[in-house]
């Protein structure tokens, strides 16, 4: 398994500002993903964070709004840019360890974001 931490755990932000969320893993992993979970809803995949190259975004998500970095095999950031109240959500990082089946993912505790 992998131990994943996210910072911040929660934040309250003003409309129009940006917030960068960090995801740190205690071991090297192959894949890192970012999800969003709105209140009472299921998880929606935002993008796959690729090490050393641009992230791969899912339909409905764009780099200008959600820039992602992955400088190495244990760390990634997601920025929520020019926030609006509709961005209020929980943002989760997940990883696929180097060992084991690629379908097994481990999730971080999430970052709870409220935009006023």
């Amino acid at each position: 398994s992998a131990v994943i931490s996210q910072k911040p755990s929660r934040d309250i932000c003003q409309r129009g500002t940006s917030l960068t969320i960090q995801c740190q893993v205690d071991s090297q992993v192959t894949m890192m993903f970012w999800y969003r979970q709105q209140p009472g809803q299921s998880l929606t995949l935002i993008a796959t964070a690729n090490q050393g190259s641009e992230a791969t975004y899912e339909s409905g998500f764009v780099i200008d709004k959600f820039p992602i970095s992955r400088p190495n095999l244990t760390f990634s950031t997601l920025t929520v840019s020019n926030m609006s109240p509709e961005d209020s959500s929980i943002y989760l990082c997940s990883v696929t360890p180097r060992t084991g089946n690629r379908e097994t993912q481990y999730f971080g505790p999430g970052t709870r974001l409220l935009v006023l």
Binding site: I4, M31, F33, Y35, S42, L43, T44, L45, T48, L92, S94, N101, R102, E103, T104, Q105, Y106, F107, G108, P109, G110, R112
Partner: protein, 107 residues
């Protein structure tokens, strides 16, 4: 992409066995079937994964028929702490979550 369908909610009582069935008619040959559990205010937690027949671990059992178009997660003797949302997924490489099944265990 294989789509999954599972009941939106289920109720059970402590000590009962709970079976949650998921249908995935478009499952591909290389897809694995994976179940996750999510408690409120936490990220999803991996429960069990299988490809065919039956898989059992310390938490649950997973039954997969020969055609693999469905799967059943079995939770033996549930307790109040098993109240959570359970997700069935059949994607490869990246996980696409469906709506999940909200299990409520009552005393």
């Amino acid at each position: 992409l294989a789509k999954t369908t599972q009941p939106i909610s289920m109720d059970s009582y402590e000590g009962q066995e709970v079976n949650i069935t998921c249908s995935h008619n478009n499952i591909a040959t290389n897809d694995y079937i994976t179940w996750y559990q999510q408690f409120p205010s936490q990220g999803p937690r991996f429960i069990i994964q299988g490809y065919k027949t039956k898989v059992t671990n310390e938490v649950a059992s997973l039954f997969i028929p020969a055609d693999r178009k469905s799967s059943t997660l079995s939770l033996p003797r549930v307790s109040l702490s098993d109240t959570a949302v359970y997700y069935c997924l059949v994607e490869r490489g990246k996980l696409i979550f469906g709506q999940g099944t909200e299990l409520s265990v009552k005393p």
